[in-house]
Symmetry: C3
Amino acid sequence: MKMTLAEIALFLGGTVIGADDTIINNIRSIEEANEGDLTFIANKKYLKKLKLTKASAILAPPQTAAEGKNLIIVADPYAALGKLLTLFFPLEHGHSGVSPDAYIEDGAIVSPGATIFPQAFISKGATIGKGTVIYPGVFIGNNAFIGEDSILYANVTIYHSCIIGKRVILHSGVVIGADGFGFASPGKDNTKIPQVGFVQIDDDVEIGANTTIDRAALGRTWIQRNVKIDNLVQIAHNVVIGENSAIAAQVGISGSTKLGKSVMVGGQAGMVGHINIGDGVIIAAASSVHKNIKPGQIVVGSPQVSHDEWLKIEACKLRLPRMRVMLEELVKKVEYLQAKINKSSNEG
Amino acid sequence: MKMTLAEIALFLGGTVIGADDTIINNIRSIEEANEGDLTFIANKKYLKKLKLTKASAILAPPQTAAEGKNLIIVADPYAALGKLLTLFFPLEHGHSGVSPDAYIEDGAIVSPGATIFPQAFISKGATIGKGTVIYPGVFIGNNAFIGEDSILYANVTIYHSCIIGKRVILHSGVVIGADGFGFASPGKDNTKIPQVGFVQIDDDVEIGANTTIDRAALGRTWIQRNVKIDNLVQIAHNVVIGENSAIAAQVGISGSTKLGKSVMVGGQAGMVGHINIGDGVIIAAASSVHKNIKPGQIVVGSPQVSHDEWLKIEACKLRLPRMRVMLEELVKKVEYLQAKINKSSNEG
Amino acid sequence: MKMTLAEIALFLGGTVIGADDTIINNIRSIEEANEGDLTFIANKKYLKKLKLTKASAILAPPQTAAEGKNLIIVADPYAALGKLLTLFFPLEHGHSGVSPDAYIEDGAIVSPGATIFPQAFISKGATIGKGTVIYPGVFIGNNAFIGEDSILYANVTIYHSCIIGKRVILHSGVVIGADGFGFASPGKDNTKIPQVGFVQIDDDVEIGANTTIDRAALGRTWIQRNVKIDNLVQIAHNVVIGENSAIAAQVGISGSTKLGKSVMVGGQAGMVGHINIGDGVIIAAASSVHKNIKPGQIVVGSPQVSHDEWLKIEACKLRLPRMRVMLEELVKKVEYLQAKINKSSNEG
């Protein structure tokens, strides 16, 4: 694809500073960009690299100063980059229509506008919406529902009766609706409690590779609109994740825990079951959360504390060996003083 | 399904308090239950919700008081719930028999009483027992053995020569028998040590989605009877897990570590290799265990300590900033006292 | 297979101590070995088991003393074991050639010397090298490249345009090239940034079951030569891992972080994004690394500190309850002294 800076600025609603007839063929990172490439500044940290880049032009935020460089000024360069990448690199699946080499059971309802690859399996009672793409090795269980314009990459598994919305993206190896981990007398009889609920995933959700979301014991496990979940995340039965939340890789959320809207969770964090995490909470990477968190809080650590408290505790932790020495010296000094005082009292 | 309370009580061996001809159509959680639903109290925490539930009846433990409510009293309501759910929601796979669209190699021994879905792959020398269900996308390697009445959900992989018992449930994405992580001169040559052992999984084990259990270097990796393992767990080569143990999600157990019977491990905990965890040990979530643990111990933390010790240390950790201030004030105070004493000695 | 000790010593370049015509049929661990078995001492810890083993001979390091035992002395017994296991247990896939029951799209370039199992899917534009083995349920995306003599076990997924080298081993459930986790205005709009880069995996890499390696946003995510990665590891977009590094299970590495050569990372460790880990660094299990680490450092903890510092801090942490008591006693004692001094001054 070839576009001039003027055309790109028009597409993005931005303003060109410099030669607006410069032609752009590709988009590259600031270190790798060359003649003919557009690059971007999404993070102030990279501003110092501006002078050295060989890119023909740079997507940059307002007030960026870069003498001798062509700029396209936009309010949010990272979002603009996303828009532009969609234009330069349109997603292609290389197939369309329902393959005769897919296995579609009688009683499945597959939109003729869906794309079903060979080697996909659609069970009876399942529904596949228009515009949805189902890759090879995907299994769709009985009575599962997949809305329109969703993408299920290779080797995704959807257990029976789960509901997936519109424009949902499920990456390879995702498992939706396996049994929740429910056993009576755990550690002794381990009697299985049948998991007879389902999973509901609302519109515009994206879920990373090999993430697992268990079906509810009763009722539903619910991932709300526009939630984004990274790879290898564990979502247990009856969890609810509020809309627009973002969950980084390898997070684990235990059963029946409820996250509000716009919660952000760092990688490898964990939450116990049956707690409530308020709207807008931020949980730092690798934290272990064991109790309710009020809306808007930032928590860190294992077990978690507020970010302010954590900073103080960590500063002390690093000084602990010094504190230990101080304490031992002080004990000796006080003993010495005491002896001296006793002596002087006795003498007095 | 419709049953009266009298019929349900008979099935569960319980006692009705209230109108025993009440008809039950469904089973729901205490918040969601309505007219015609049975609900349950598995946890004392939920007793206060008893008054508000719209359920027609409640499965409850002995001595539950709930005026005006229909109760079925049973010794263990959670186990009773499990039994009842099995009755109300019988597990259906929607297929039976060996599909001609499965790929079964010559020399595989598949019971005519097994269910093999289309798109499953059974290698030569493999055995599939009677009543076992193999979903699409499952791969069974050469000479693997799967006992009777087991369920392997979609996209499970069993490497060659592994042994799976009876009534075992493997959820989607489980990988049994991939090579253990064994390399000579790690970080330098990384020379692969062939992993020529196998995995043995005994009867009544259940393993969650995307969990991985590596084959032994030599000999076996062994998951004993009635062990329950959650999603995304890593079990390394030559690990042994004793019967009735329960392992929560995202736990990692390093090579050759041995767990006794009835061990319970919280989510995201990790264990180093070559250690022994005694019978009945409880390891808290997110703990890192680096040495042998005696039977019956409860351990917490990273690195782990006993639960009692952990409580004391954590209490101090939260007071660390205060302790630091106290210590610094004390240093000043003692210096002041010392100066005063010196002065008074000199004066004296 | 049957070999005499003399033949084995010749194969390994070792020296026999004892009866060099002893016949070996099998290789077993030191506890399980019996008459006719060879065993090995890879770790000094196991030297005390030497006397009790029933093995007919033992692979051992120089200067091993074991009266009455047959030994083969080699410089590195663990590496020698690896070599010998390859001879005794040659890897067999049970198939060869390109199966007509694989789904190979027009425009895929598959070497006639490759092995493609039934139920594999090779997309158009993809290349599969000579000697490479592709198991059932493997999906190879458009324009992906797989070099020679690699093994992709069942249910591996390779997204479009990714590049895999020679002699690479990918275990079941591995996902290469799913979209990196990139969203503008995270927690609010969550606007997807298309991930238009790729993954490059160099020669001799091995990757464990269900590990996920995301495609770059722009450019490449790069796993260099001879890197070994265990199960359930998360490698985010644009990460680079230097040659010969070894990454244990359940590690998570965030976006754009760069590891040098020969880095060793313990299980469940995590790294934030955009940092540099120097050559030869060792990161202990379960550590959380949040900043650049210089070459050769050993780091531990969450957040990480140097190993020396960590040992001191942990020793103090365990003494914290004692330190708290000392501190409180000291406060009282100093108050008492102060009162006494004040009294004596007043009296004086």
